[in-house]
């Protein structure tokens, strides 16, 4: 504790000292923890936000959402859609070592094939990735995959240094990796913050515009709001709806509502009575006034959902009629089935009290007997995956605009996640999911995804609730920062205005 020996300094010195900390560091407070820096290890939100800053991908998206060259200067797709050839630009890792086709092949093969790769779903079609020469990479597919180019942009398609991983081993790498992205790790304090410094060897000349960034983990929403209001950070993630107006009203802070792929849904368990019966699920959906719920929860900032897919995705069916709000009809169904008074166990994950209250009240109004059972996140997953629940509510998002991964995750019963563990299983939906991936014609794909949405909405695979915009707050000290729907901060294009 020798650090406690302080001279007779005064508070003014403290103020000066803290004011002097590098003004060109962008600090972002997010509730999502960074738990690993290895892009294949995790698909949890906080890590996704970090991976984007550390690893460049072959392609990138511009503000309009269009794919642009990144590490790959150009690319070509064979006519059968089975071979993708990328020409790499001369790029370096943060230590100055060259980034070669070997590294690209290694990284992509790793995320696709490594047994510990947390989320290889996007790369199921890949048979192998081959470094043809020093700056040419070839992706060889077993079957055509429509969104494969999109997948070259997502968080876990980042390029890591083969030499680094081989030399130090995956665990050491995961704690302090060489970086190919706009920033490199200056210091990682697990459970607190990730301190990033601009990568001088980043391929994009002149970027990033700031000297560094800090991704600070702050789980308490009020604390985050206080922090941006007090000017202690430049941006915060997920301001509670209740505070958006207040925070937005503050000088120097704005809360633009940014489009996201986030969708809130009710998850019924399709293998357990009473929700194994589509009519009962329909009753549960009709009992809910989704407009009112969305309005109450988001104070009018979110839009009620009509489809089982997020509205930001391609092929989203905007004109689809969701289940109507009709409590009388819902009650009639329950009465007809003799299910009035059925007890249903609703798992209540953390921070969902308001939603759970609204759901319970409306379900109970049509004749269910809803018992909310609070669970923490760990328990929630256990119960969900184990099918030990009647119904619950949650949210999910998709990392690309292409609906393939979304359908696989939330609607497909045979794609590994059992339709978000609701055990909804319609062979037609499964079949359509696989076919849509392989289909290269956008129009045909659109029709398939429309059918998927129609089926799942009518069978109530899940009850879509609302589409939530991001409510991130930004200080006016910076500009150019936003969070893309794929959960990537545009930090490299961010700069200080004063």
């Amino acid at each position: 504790m020798e650090r406690l020996q302080l001279p007779a300094a005064i508070t003014a010195a403290v103020l000066l000292a803290s004011a002097a900390t590098a003004q060109d560091i962008v600090r972002i407070a997010s509730p999502n923890p960074v738990t690993t820096l290895d892009p294949i290890r995790s698909a949890a939100a906080g890590n996704i936000e970090a991976f984007g800053q550390l690893y460049a991908r072959l392609l990138r998206r511009d503000e309009t959402g269009a794919l642009q060259p990144a590490l790959a200067e150009s690319w070509a797709v064979s006519d059968d859609g089975l071979t993708y050839t990328f020409e790499l630009r001369a790029a370096k890792f943060s230590d100055g070592s060259p980034l070669t086709a070997e590294d690209v092949a290694f990284s992509l093969n790793r995320v696709a094939k490594d047994p510990e790769s947390a989320y290889p779903a996007a790369y199921a079609a890949l048979s192998e990735v081959v470094a043809v020469d020093a700056d040419t990479v070839e992706l060889r597919l077993e079957y055509p995959a429509g969104p494969m180019l999109d997948y070259m942009e997502i968080f876990n398609a980042g390029i890591v240094s083969k030499a680094d991983v081989d030399a130090r081993g995956a665990d050491a790498f995961a704690a302090s990796p060489l970086s190919s992205g706009p920033f490199m790790v200056q210091e990682w304090r697990p459970n607190d913050r990730l301190i990033l410094a601009a990568n001088p060897n980043y391929w994009r000349e002149g970027y990033p515009l700031v000297a560094g960034a800090e991704l600070i983990e702050v789980s308490d929403s009020n604390a985050r709001a206080s922090m941006i209001l007090a000017g202690e950070v430049e941006a915060v993630r997920a301001v509670p709806y209740a505070q958006v107006a207040e925070v937005d009203a503050a000088d120097d802070v704005a809360v633009p509502l940014e489009p996201s792929t986030v969708i809130y849904v009710v998850l019924p368990n399709h293998t357990k009575p009473p929700f194994d019966d589509a009519d009962v699920r329909r009753a549960a959906a009709m009992a809910l006034d989704r407009q009112a719920i969305a309005k109450a929860i988001s104070l009018g900032m979110a839009k009620a959902a009509n489809s089982t897919l997020p509205e930001a995705l391609a092929f989203y069916a905007a004109d689809l009629e969701g289940q109507p709000y009709d409590p009388a009809a819902a009650r009639a169904i329950l009465e007809e089935k003799g299910l009035v008074g059925t007890e249903i166990v609703m798992l209540a994950p953390p921070d969902s009290a308001q939603l759970m209250t609204l759901l319970k009240a409306q379900w109970d109004a049509v004749g269910f007997m809803t018992k909310a059972e609070p669970v923490d996140t760990g328990l929630w997953w256990d119960r969900l995956v184990g099918g030990d629940y009647n119904i619950t509510a949650s949210w999910w998002y998709n990392e690309t605009m292409d609906p393939d991964l979304a359908a696989r995750w939330a609607l497909c019963g045979s794609c590994g996640n059992n339709s978000y563990y609701t055990n909804y299983n319609n062979p037609r939906v499964d079949e359509l999911t696989e076919a849509a991936l392989r289909e290269l014609d956008p129009e045909k794909r659109g029709a398939m995804y429309r059918e998927i949405q129609e089926i799942t909405v009518s069978e109530v695979s899940q009850v879509p609730l609302w589409y939530a915009p991001f409510t991130n707050a930004y200080s006016s000290r910076i500009e150019g920062l936003r969070l893309t729907p794929a959960l990537q901060w545009t930090l490299e294009e961010t700069r200080f205005t004063k």
Binding site: S221, N222, P240, A242, Q243, A245, E246, D289, A292, K295, A296, I297, A348, P350, D351, S352, A353, Q354, M356, T357, L358, K360, A361, Q362, K371, A372, E373, P374, V375, D376, G378, L379
Partner: protein, 268 residues
């Protein structure tokens, strides 16, 4: 010196008043405490809703009124098991001394360094959230304070002549413990219990704050405060009134504790 009973009376009056509120909740409440109302979200206090409404349109006043039941339930039930366990261990340890005492003290040694909140969280993680599991966690660590007090009293009492006399009259140890030691060791324990009730209610609220308390839509003050904390600058009434209620009930119990302590000291 005269003021001591006054404090005690004030404390008892406050707690009794809350007790009445809890009992008469159905008559006092103006609304159904769990009925949502999409037409009346976040209404400020007024004639329709004395304390305003919350983010699901529920009447805060009615929820505060019904919440009294949970506060008292948590507070009273939450100290019961720790007190029973602690008194038993403490009295037995202090009265018998020797290896019994040594064993009990080792037990205390293990329980004391266990960070209380961590244990509560861990137990809640094992058994799932909810008030009942909070009680279990309390029972596992909350007894220490009672055990220490009871043991200290028993150590003195075992040497006091009326206990020695009871022993030389050939009475059995359990009888002596129950009839002679327990009643005379009770007063500091009761004083401590009053403070403990306040803390148990508060910790229960903190648990609600961390999302591990009673299930929604239970009108429990801690959860109401936690929920309302997001609205602290836009709809202050959601968190303020349950917070105020919690302070007032806490003051009541604390006054009883203080007053009782002084009153007992005066009588001694």
């Amino acid at each position: 010196m005269r003021r001591a009973p006054a404090l005690l009376v004030a404390g008892i009056a406050i707690v009794a008043a809350w007790g009445l509120v809890a009992l008469a909740a159905p008559f006092l409440a103006t609304h159904d405490p769990i009925a949502i109302n999409f037409e009346a979200l976040l209404q400020p206090p007024g004639d329709a809703n004395y304390f305003g409404t919350d983010n699901t349109g529920r009447d805060v006043f009615s929820r505060v009124v019904y919440g009294t039941r949970y506060a008292l339930y948590i507070g009273l039930l939450g100290v019961l098991a720790p007190m029973a366990i602690g008194m038993t261990i403490g009295l037995v340890a202090g009265y018998f001394g020797g290896w019994v005492d040594a064993l009990a003290m080792r037990l205390v040694d293990v329980a004391v360094p266990f960070p209380f909140f961590v244990l509560v969280l861990a137990i809640v993680a094992v058994l799932g959230p909810g008030i009942e599991n909070y009680f279990i966690a309390l029972a596992l660590v909350g007894w220490i304070g009672y055990a220490r007090l009871a043991r200290a009293e028993a150590l003195v009492l075992r040497q006091s002549e009326f206990v020695l006399a009871a022993r030389t009259m050939g009475f059995s140890h359990p009888y002596i413990l129950a009839r002679h030691v327990l009643p005379n060791a009770l007063s500091p324990v009761v004083v401590y219990m009053m403070t403990d009730i306040t803390l148990v209610i508060l910790f229960g609220a903190a648990l609600g704050f961390l999302g591990m308390g009673a299930p929604p839509p239970t009108p429990e003050w801690g959860i109401m405060i936690a929920e309302g904390s997001f609205y602290i600058s836009t709809a202050w009434w959601i968190a303020f009134f349950p917070g105020l209620a919690m302070v007032m009930i806490g003051v009541g119990f604390a006054l009883i504790g203080d007053g009782l302590a002084r009153w007992l000291r005066l009588r001694a």
